[in-house]
């Protein structure tokens, strides 16, 4: 019973945070709603025994990524309120909401209609229970994850190191300001530079 209460509370926090991101006109408030949503997801991870991922969720997502967002918002000084009452592109909101409802109906349809064949929903979607890397309940969650990460997936793990290096170099190259002293002037004639 306790896990039902935890799920409902965390789920409400997740959804309220998500709605806050989309509906707030101020980007700073959107970023702070994002923190609430990420914390709710971390609670859901704890509820499913994924302790390491809950920790990483808080440290990386709610910590690093949201701080990066806030830093960019403050750096660029774009924290003014966006006027949401005007709709520059006619029909964009209606179209967006209709597409969102369509996606939701598609996902929920796949979830609830797939069990009609006699199998239970989740198993019917993905096949039978996997035995490739069963969770060893006697070990802590982080040991299970490490055994899989540094066993079967060690090459992919090394590739992520390469990816992060490339992303860092790319970010430095993109925001570097060398030799472009007149970036504040928007001259059409200098487009070929």
């Amino acid at each position: 019973m306790v896990d039902v209460i935890v799920f409902v509370v965390a789920g409400l926090v997740v959804l309220a945070g998500a709605l806050g991101v989309v509906l707030n006109s101020n980007p700073v408030r959107s970023a702070l709603s994002l923190v609430a949503s990420f914390f709710g997801v971390a609670i859901l991870f704890v509820l499913q025994e994924a302790h390491f991922l809950a920790l990483v969720q808080v440290v990386v997502y709610a910590g690093a990524i949201v701080v990066l967002f806030l830093f960019v918002i403050m750096l660029l000084g774009v924290d003014e309120v966006e006027d949401l009452s005007v709709e520059p592109l006619a029909g964009q909101r209606i179209g967006g909401v209709v597409a969102g409802v369509a996606v939701l109906a598609f996902l929920l349809g796949g979830l609830f209609l797939s069990g009609k064949g006699g199998d239970e929903g989740a198993v019917a979607v993905t096949g039978t229970e996997s035995v490739t890397q069963p969770i060893d309940e006697t070990q802590p969650n982080i040991d299970n994850l490490a055994a899989d990460l540094f066993g079967r997936n060690v090459l992919a793990f090394e590739a992520t190191a390469l990816l992060l290096t490339i992303a860092t170099v790319g970010a430095v190259v993109l925001v570097r300001n060398a030799g472009a002293e007149d970036l504040s002037v928007d001259e059409p004639g200098r487009a070929e530079r």
């Binding site: 997740v14 991101v21 991922l53 990524i65 660029l76 966006e82 979830l111 990816l163 992060l164 790319g170």
Partner: protein, 101 residues
């Protein structure tokens, strides 16, 4: 009454749809990025739910990789936004067309 994986997958579907609408409707590129993160988180929730249901740690490993790729994506995406917004402080997503060579 206990929490089954169907509950998590339903929550994940709703969260994904909210992020999807956010990407389509909002014009501030930073808020669009945040909505993108919501969609990634929705997928993470369903990954962990399946890992739990199917007794397979590979779902949690996938979430780990999604986290790393999301971090790299945010770094590159935000630097593009910074590079464009320096020129046009009141940028909307439409102004990203100025990236065209």
């Amino acid at each position: 009454m206990r929490v089954t994986e169907t509950w998590y997958l339903t929550l994940s579907a709703v969260l994904f749809a909210i992020g999807f609408v956010g990407v389509l409707v909002r014009r501030n590129p930073l808020v669009m990025f945040m909505s993108l993160e919501l969609m990634l988180n929705a997928v993470n929730v369903s990954f962990v739910a399946f890992a739990n249901k199917l007794d397979d740690i590979a779902g949690q490993t996938a979430v780990f990789f999604v986290l790393v790729v999301a971090a790299a994506e945010v770094v590159v995406g935000l630097s593009i936004v910074v590079a464009v917004m320096r020129r046009r402080p009141s940028m909307t997503a439409d102004d990203l067309r100025s990236l065209k060579g």
